[in-house]
């Protein structure tokens, strides 16, 4: 745990977590804003621009996080 995860303060906005996924520059950046909104940046190549950016409310990110964390829903 922890290796390949980089935390960056964004003064006035919140915190950014860069998570390196290893191959070919694939990585995910999660920005947690102070108001609870999360911005999910997905990079699938070494290129400059993010492949996708999703803005999630607190409620939505809990949902996504629960599924990613392995919670099962009936």
């Amino acid at each position: 745990m922890g290796q390949g995860v980089h935390v960056q303060e964004l003064p006035g906005i919140g915190k950014r977590y860069d998570i390196d996924l290893g191959h070919g520059g694939t990585r995910v950046s999660v920005v947690v804003r102070r108001d609870g909104t999360r911005d999910l940046y997905v990079f699938t190549s070494r290129s400059d621009e993010p492949t996708a950016v999703v803005e999630l409310s607190e409620e939505q990110s809990r949902k996504v996080g629960a599924v990613l964390g392995g919670t099962f829903f009936a």
Binding site: G4, E9, I13, D18, F43, R46, S47, P50
Partner: protein, 495 residues
């Protein structure tokens, strides 16, 4: 009373709707609040919703106070002071260039010295709200230069407090140098007093307003803030500073997070009233007489910020794209410029300042999102010499990583398979690392020799990568972070 409610409700609703329409096309909201006030105010022909702007005076004053209080509460003290000297140098250059140019322009206009000082501040301090929203909307939160941009605008906010302290005695009408010095001394003394309260009295303040019920906390908070702001104005320090400082005090109490949450909607509403109220005092007819100075001011602001972006870019080792983004993201002017103009008008300075700042803010409100979005065109024309001439830059690639030294990657492959220094000494090593600037191979920190780290200490080459099979990572010594692969396709390094 009845008529007042109709006028007030209608103008606030129109302001909200106009700002919403502006947001649709990516324009900032503050100028639209002001525009509403201008269009529907008594000084402009056409429909008039508020006949007497002074009816709004109290509400607008509360808006100003809450705006600065919120700034103080949210001020990220730890992040800013923990971020190192380079950020302060960059911010200092940015502020110095901006305020210096503003001052020069202010004196050139010849409206008077206090007027020049106000113009310097109004031109010099960028709008944090506009820059922050731009970064979110342009999806640049993951860029390497973004933390630096945010750091700079936060330091600018801090600078605002000192600038207000400097300015308030001059606005209060002090004329002789002795009188001014006395007033400035009082202002800073008062600031120190509040800093002392922040350091030692935060608990007492927390106890005073800290109810566990949100309702009572909100009421206590507003009462305290407005009272402190009023007292500050009474002793000759502006209410704006008082509000900002009490915000810093509250930020140190246990109720900080709840206050932050509670003050936001209040601030949004009352600040909008403040901006509308400023607009009400502006006569559209006066725009003609300030058009030329405003055009010059806008041009100066653009040139100065691009220069400041280049300074920051070369300090932090950004490429052209990063430097262009730094310069063009902070073009927006808004809340702080309007606060300074309001203070100036309240002090009875030259009344051309009102329309001048209003038009300046409006023009930049339209230009700044466009310039920020198109920064890559600027990146194409910045020569390498303006940044660091010894480096090879990939001009237009976004540097989308936390590490700021990727520009120094010169070589990524080697066929070296031994740590030469260890071989010479007859020692053993655990893993091998390779310097990405010169290609030197050294042993890792788990090896007795630690020659890769020694190589960095010696040469300052910041980046290494692992030479172990199946390991694909790079590490930056300066940033102390793992970094990802170099950005985009690079030109082969021959020569």
């Amino acid at each position: 009373m009845h008529a007042d409610l109709i006028g007030f409700g209608a103008i606030v609703l129109v302001a909200g709707l106009l700002a919403r329409a502006g947001r649709r096309v990516g324009l900032p909201s503050v100028p639209f609040f002001m525009l509403t006030g201008i269009l529907l105010g008594p000084a402009t022909p056409g429909p008039v919703l508020i006949e007497h702007p002074e009816d709004l005076a109290l509400l607008a004053a509360i808006g100003l106070v809450l705006l600065l209080f919120n700034l103080g509460v949210e001020f990220p003290v730890r992040q800013v002071f923990g971020s190192g000297k380079r950020l302060f140098i960059a911010a200092g250059c940015s502020i110095g260039l901006n305020v210096g140019a503003g001052l020069a322009l202010g004196f050139t206009l010849g409206w008077g010295t206090p007027e020049a000082l106000v113009i310097a501040g109004a031109l010099g301090i960028s709008s944090s709200a506009i820059a922050t929203k731009l970064l979110i909307e342009l999806r640049r939160l993951a860029n390497a230069e973004t933390p630096i941009i945010l750091g700079i605008i936060v330091i600018e906010d801090l600078f605002l407090a000192f600038y207000l302290a400097l300015l308030s005695p001059i606005l209060a009408g002090a004329s002789s140098p002795g009188e001014i010095a006395l007033h400035i001394g009082m202002s800073f003394g008062y600031l120190l007093l509040l800093v002392a309260v922040a350091k030692w009295g935060a608990r007492a303040i927390g106890w005073l307003i800290g109810s566990h019920e949100d309702e009572l906390l909100a009421i206590g908070m507003v009462g305290l803030v407005v009272l402190v702001a009023g007292l500050s104005a009474e002793v000759g320090v502006s209410d704006a500073i008082g509000a900002l400082m009490i915000g810093l005090v509250v930020a140190r109490t246990a109720v900080r997070e709840r206050v932050e949450r509670l003050v936001l909607p209040l601030r949004d509403v009352f600040a909008a009233v403040f901006f509308v109220g400023f607009g009400l005092s502006i006569d559209v007819g006066a725009f003609g007489s300030v058009a030329v100075p405003v055009a010059v001011a806008v041009a100066v602001t653009i040139v100065v910020n691009i220069s400041a972006g280049l300074v920051t870019g070369s300090l932090f080792g950004f490429n052209q794209r990063g430097a262009a983004n730094v310069g063009l993201t902070v073009l927006g002017r808004g809340e702080f410029s309007l606060i300074l103009a309001t203070l100036a008008l309240g002090a009875g300075l030259d009344d051309r300042i009102g329309p001048f700042v209003a038009l300046y803010v409006l023009v930049l409100a339209v230009l700044s999102p466009m310039f920020a979005a198109q920064s890559r065109y600027l990146a194409r024309v910045i020569p390498d010499q303006f940044l660091r001439s010894r480096w090879r830059y990939v001009r237009e690639e976004t540097m989308s990583t936390a590490c700021t030294h990727l520009g120094r990657i010169q070589i990524t492959e080697t066929d070296g398979d031994a740590c030469r220094e260890c071989l010479d000494a007859g020692a053993d090593w655990v893993h091998l690392r390779m310097c990405l600037t010169c290609g030197a191979v050294g042993c890792c920190d788990d090896s007795p020799g630690r020659h890769a780290t020694a190589h960095f200490d010696e040469t300052g080459h910041p980046l290494i990568r692992s030479l172990e099979p199946r390991e694909d990572w790079q590490y930056c010594y300066v940033d102390g972070a793992l970094v990802r692969e170099p950005i985009g396709p690079r030109e082969p390094v021959e020569s």
